[in-house]
Symmetry: C2
Subunit: 216 residues, 2 copies
DNA sequence: AGTGTAGTTATACATTTGTATAAAATTGTG
DNA sequence: CACAATTTTATACAAATGTATAACTACACT
């Protein structure tokens, strides 16, 4: 009996492989199904490697959570910045990024919820959550402020913050229910729904965000 | 060595005891910490009873999820109906019920998130989620419609539905982030924030929901 | 008070899990 | 091509977990 043949990977490659295998497993069967053995199998390695790279299973899971949050925020931020348009356009793309794939996915929301469930009683998770939320809120605030400016609306720091909190709530809630997709409505309505709702939250003229700025 | 003394309870009493012990355990350490032994200890019984009443651990966890959702919706509905005021007042109380204790609690959100994480891959959980979401949405729709009517706003079935989806998203998102309370802002701002945001979402005159209708 | 019933306890058991450690194989370097 | 470094595998092990089942006991009813 010979040993299993293997290939060495760089530290970053290997870590990413393991993190993605972890997320795959958690998404499929929750934390309960994410055993070191199953994750290792998913990654095509043996169980010992997980400890080698992440110290313990907990270390791996924690890193996977941070990895996921990073992905979600980066995707939304990238889509906003990719937009070459004005402030309205950037905010619109940010909103839509959260209401379409890849962010709007049952898998992503399941992962996110599973991890959120641990924020309360595990310090590591609480730290990652707090930091991720803070980053996301700042990002959103930074997108909202120039939109208010463009429409000549009040834009004190306090006002921007309140708006960001509300809009973030709207995004989170729609993202969640939309991703889980209870079948009560089609996901396809979400991009328009969120932009229109955001216009009203910020008291922008109708069509500022949802208008036909990008004809077919 | 004598056996442990015990008291017989009615079926409903015992079930409720076990369900609440389950939620307590899940809230404290997540599903991982909610072992049959720990739950039994929390409930002051021995492990065998759980299977006796719920068939299996999975049956118990599933029932606990349904129990939680029922609690959350019932609390909000009760607070809305308790309000003796007009339609605006009822909607306001509904909103506020979700932004104050007992619904706005880290424990409740943690439980909810933990369970939501299983909706994707477990049929039982998906069913409970879908049904709970549908009920909640109908409830909200039923509160929104008369408010729109009172203000002479369009209130087609489609419009009410869209508004309910958006407002529900807002509530869910704020409820979550507010309960987890990252320390970025005080929970105390949420009742006003949600009512004002809802006014704008529904395009009501400012103060319709948040106004000083109930002087000290 | 006696008696049956089913609510409740107590114990056993196979399986799974995370961790630890030693052995082996891959790869870059001289 | 040999050697060293360290990535990766393979095996062992104690602890914990869900389930199954038999024994006991509280309580209602006669």
């Amino acid at each position: 009996m010979s040993r299993k043949a293997f290939r060495r990977l760089t530290l970053d490659e290997r870590k990413r492989t393991l993190l993605e295998a972890t997320l795959t497993c958690v998404a499929q069967q929750g934390l309960k199904g994410a055993t070191v053995r199953r994750i290792a199998e998913e990654a095509g390695v043996t169980a010992g490697l997980l400890r080698h790279y992440f110290g313990s299973k907990n270390g791996l899971i924690t890193s996977a959570y941070a990895y996921l949050i990073g992905q979600l925020t980066a995707e939304a931020e990238t889509r906003a910045r990719q937009s070459t348009g004005d402030a309205n356009d950037q905010l619109r793309h940010f909103l839509i990024a959260n209401m379409t794939m890849p962010n709007l996915s049952e898998e992503k929301v399941s992962l996110w919820a599973t991890f959120i469930g641990r924020v309360r009683y595990e310090t590591d998770f609480a730290d990652i959550h707090r930091e991720g939320y803070r980053d996301y809120l700042s990002l959103l605030e930074g997108l909202i402020e120039p939109v208010l400016a463009a429409h000549g609306l009040p834009r004190s720091a306090a006002a921007c913050r309140r708006h960001a909190i509300a809009v973030n709530g709207l995004i989170d809630g729609l993202w969640m229910e939309g991703s889980l997709n209870s079948g009560l409505y089609s996901r396809a309505i979400l991009p328009d729904l969120v932009t229109e709702a955001c216009e009203r939250l910020l008291e922008l003229p109708a069509g500022s965000l949802s208008g036909e700025k990008q004809p077919t």
